[in-house]
Symmetry: D2
């Protein structure tokens, strides 16, 4: 931690800052510049509380954090990449995985048809919402427990493990009875009670990035889950909010190599929500793989025009198969020395 | 709702769209342009589901919503301004109100001292967190029930009604036992289960804008509360995420006159979180009043350097009094014809 | 300047950084942390080139600039506020000034009518475009020299000094023959050849903030003008790009008190471009004054529905007069101790 | 064009709008809704001026543009993809091209060394700045004419065509004497006099996206060049401004398939400026190719630590070769049916 004093800060100001640093058990070193003094804080990572406290002291211009505020999530503390295993599926082990399914579970037949098409196209896990966060209170909000039961049935029929969203802390145990992976959606990335509860579950957690979350905030949310003892976290980039009205979100693929540098957790990409447009799903899927993603989570529908939610971004199973076929060659092309360099 | 077809869409495409529109009980009118056709949907507000469904049909380029997706929240359906009454305090009745208090309840003496200072300075309601959403799992998260009890005690001693945050659906009833106003924080603006539960409470709700929420999304969240029967909603602008690292957020004061045009609900401003810097609180407080805000919610601390959270943005009671003294004259200066024009 | 080394950087890495620092004539001090080393650079402001160079050295994680990159613009080097005088008008001297006029000069009669209305309403300077940057090559681009001549004629008739935009370096001398203040528009804030040329003019410069410029970048652009010897720079906040489609831009009023803290230059606000909507001009004008702005620049039109450009944001002279009438009382209400605190 | 009236607009309001539409030579059709009327404007694309004018009329709530504001740039008017030929190099013809070179021309030997390394690694064109837009007036601004001469010399020695930036209208002819492709930088995307002048040159134009430009604004800037008769425009995505401080910009790869759908012009990607970090250049280069880019423009340096500008983002020639080697396989993997679907 570095404390930069204002030009004209008094000796008393400096002493008060030093007092706070030493009271927190840290050493320090002062650098006297020509215009202002800077104080370096010694010792292992100062607490967030000290960081904020020093900012309030008189004569302080700025406090700069040098240590990262997350630990369990950080690659510095855990250099080997984490592989999250779900049934037979390994996420983060090299070859990218494909997760697919409908936005929302609509009924037994539709789900089974989509699940079989997903599997046939190359998906290794099934996604589908039983509880859906909707902007409007008047929109369809999902089938709830019935949806969970249908998902479990689809798993039985196809062998595909299930990823499904959980929206509130009290639902975690119920959803965990059915799901293989608990999805925490973008709108809940900073729902800390939910993160804690998921952290106490024995199911893997797929943690989507909030659409205006910085990468550091996203990793801090992962830290909430890991801090409760659950290390099976899969990060998922799904688009950030930006200024161009032409797409619903701006898919931030640069987050993929960045996050893989900062953390040991696997990271996948959701090109469906990340673009909001069906015609962009295939190119952005393959771009995600080329950027180094450990997998994709894609919305498909056997008849998008009849989908009960997010139809404009669902692709047909045929397109999914074309994406699946291209993943291997793209991955092979990029994993050579260039890829080696970044991991 | 307006459906714009692609150039080159077939007659079959057109007929499928018309089929969907009429199946949903709407009339329609086709405008044949030189390059493409446009279909106007007649009748009262088409559902969100129809809106999304038509987007998925072949040959459709874009669907434009004309009706607003919120109803109970809209000034079109409820032209008179709503006044939210909490004890003796009226929010939205004209003269702006001042809510103040610490970021977080720290202890009995500190709270009482701050509450008395807030009241002496001109505040009519007390804010203070018992449950605090914190980015880091390792930061102080609030005193919980003990904090609620201290708030109730401070109310007894000062007569000031209490605003405090509720973070999860299951807490709503507990917090409502103590609080006069339930605050839903920016990170929970799209926590729909929480909004629903607050909508079933008999306490007023202070709904902060999510820091990347559009104004429409914010009003849709208010709609969740109103749809459950609770019409006592106070909107609160608290800064949006933007690109300049110099402040934590960008306070969007234009939202104030915009929201007052679109909705009948009162809107207040939080200049403390909206800027993150103590030196900006006073000017932005007065700017908020000049923009037409119905009130302010401000963080104060009798000794900011000892605050357990958000110390850098807390102001001293003395500064609060100076703000309070200026609110009246600023409001008087702007409520004349110019103000008349906008409401 | 602070150089933070990576965990695991070698002694050789450290020595190379120290070599670069001393080669540039600076002293240094090393802080050995438990995880990594940090090097403080001593002496007056290191150059931008050293700052960038050190970032490229092996073993360096991050370089943090402590000194501000602008000097002539900074209040640290020039503590007293600058007052820019244009004819009888003083900008930055206390009482805010009102600049008004049409978006674009349309013709002699219309201009004169608008100019007289502006003056009658309380404006002390006339704005109007002879050269207009338009997004579409097919839109009206201004009258050019004829527009400049009409502006000069309007000045003669009304006594109001003229503010008008200059779009390319080669136009500076021509425009300066007619104008009292050279406006550099938001799209040209980083047009460095234009800034230099304006810096060699003897006319005052009104420098609008680029709509995605950070405050630091804006001040660096002002530095270009000052570095050429022209100290008569007026900064103008006019809205930044953000994610909400409801307004064209997001007026960043917090920039006003921030900029006044960082620089000695006066800062005014353009609520017309900053919101893009006529109904928001009055409240945001008064909010700007309450935030501490030294003035306003507002688009008016005697018949907005006939305006050749930006009609949706032009207000009627009557509304301008109401704004003008409220400026004094708002300024009086905010300049007391609270205002004192911030300047 | 669709005009949506306010609820409660009068018949007179409606008639005034209709009058404006017919005066501009358009037919119209009125759709009477239950709450408000909507007017469809018939005939080919209404002008921007009519679009803006109608917005100002009383009783109008919103005007929605249906036609695209650009024409020559649009794929609707020019369905076949444009191939821009520069010497032997074809951009937009299928196989992506690689352009590489230093940020800025630093001297004869360094340039030649870098140019040869670029060519050896697989680059087919040389980039390098003779005129550099720099945020600080105190930074190195390029060698000017001397830099142009060195670039011409490097072309002679290597056979690589030259891409170099032009910063002001008056430089266009001079730069065009030396360059094969005129680069217009992000900060000048809305420098309309510069775009016009480049539009009258016989050299190809590489038009970077402004870092807060919408895709529509970017295409409108291309329209300026095409409207002057120059159809050899190459679009270049180079990162947009966003909220995460971890990278200088957010590379918007979704823009690639979007732009290829909207326009017939080729589009390339600059991963160096788009990320600002050397370690992200390789993954984002390959992601760009997978997204469908027609090429890459990359900064390299034989000794990044000695680069006079932007060293932190320059890669070594070795890394460039690894990227070059992977482009072919990635392109082959994605150009199959999936790619077919999107173009």
């Amino acid at each position: 931690m570095i404390v930069q004093m204002r030009t004209g800060a008094s000796t008393g100001n400096l002493e008060q800052v030093i007092g706070a640093i030493t009271a927190a058990g840290h050493g320090y070193r002062v650098i006297e510049g020509t215009e202002r003094s800077v104080i370096g804080v010694l010792g292992s990572a100062p607490s967030q509380d000290l960081f904020e406290h020093v900012q309030t002291l008189p004569g302080v211009e700025m406090v700069i954090r040098i240590s990262k505020p997350y630990k369990l999530t950080s690659r510095e503390f855990h250099p080997e990449s984490t592989v999250v295993t779900v049934g037979d599926v390994q996420i983060g082990a090299g070859m990218p995985v494909l997760i697919a399914g409908p936005c929302v579970v609509e009924g037994r037949d539709a789900l089974l048809q989509t699940a079989r098409a997903a599997k046939a196209a190359g998906a290794v896990m099934l996604r589908g919402g039983a509880y859906k966060p909707r902007t409007s209170p008047y929109s369809f909000q999902g089938l709830g427990v019935e949806g969970l039961e249908l998902l479990a049935y689809a798993r039985e029929e196809t062998g595909l493990p299930i990823v499904t969203e959980v929206m509130e802390p009290e639902q975690v145990e119920l959803v965990a009875e059915y799901a293989d992976v608990l999805q925490i959606g973008a709108r809940n990335m900073s729902n800390f009670p939910l993160l804690r509860r998921a952290g106490r579950s024995d199911k893997a957690v797929l943690l989507k990035r909030g659409f205006s979350a910085t990468i550091e905030e996203w990793l801090m949310s992962a830290e909430y889950v890991l801090a409760e003892g659950n290390e099976r976290v899969i990060l998922c980039e799904r688009g950030i909010r930006s200024f161009d009205p032409m797409t619903r979100f701006t898919l931030d693929l640069t987050a993929v190599p960045l996050v893989k540098e900062l953390t040991h957790l696997p990271v996948i990409v959701d090109p469906s929500h990340g673009t909001g447009r069906r015609d962009l799903v295939a190119p952005m899927s393959l771009a995600a793989i080329a950027a180094g993603a450990d997998g994709l989570i894609v919305e498909i529908h056997h008849d998008p025009a009849q989908a009960l939610c997010d139809g404009p971004q669902a692709i047909l199973p045929d397109v999914l198969r074309q994406i699946a076929d291209a993943i291997g060659p793209v991955y092979a092309a990029v994993r050579s020395p260039v890829l080696a360099q970044r991991t």
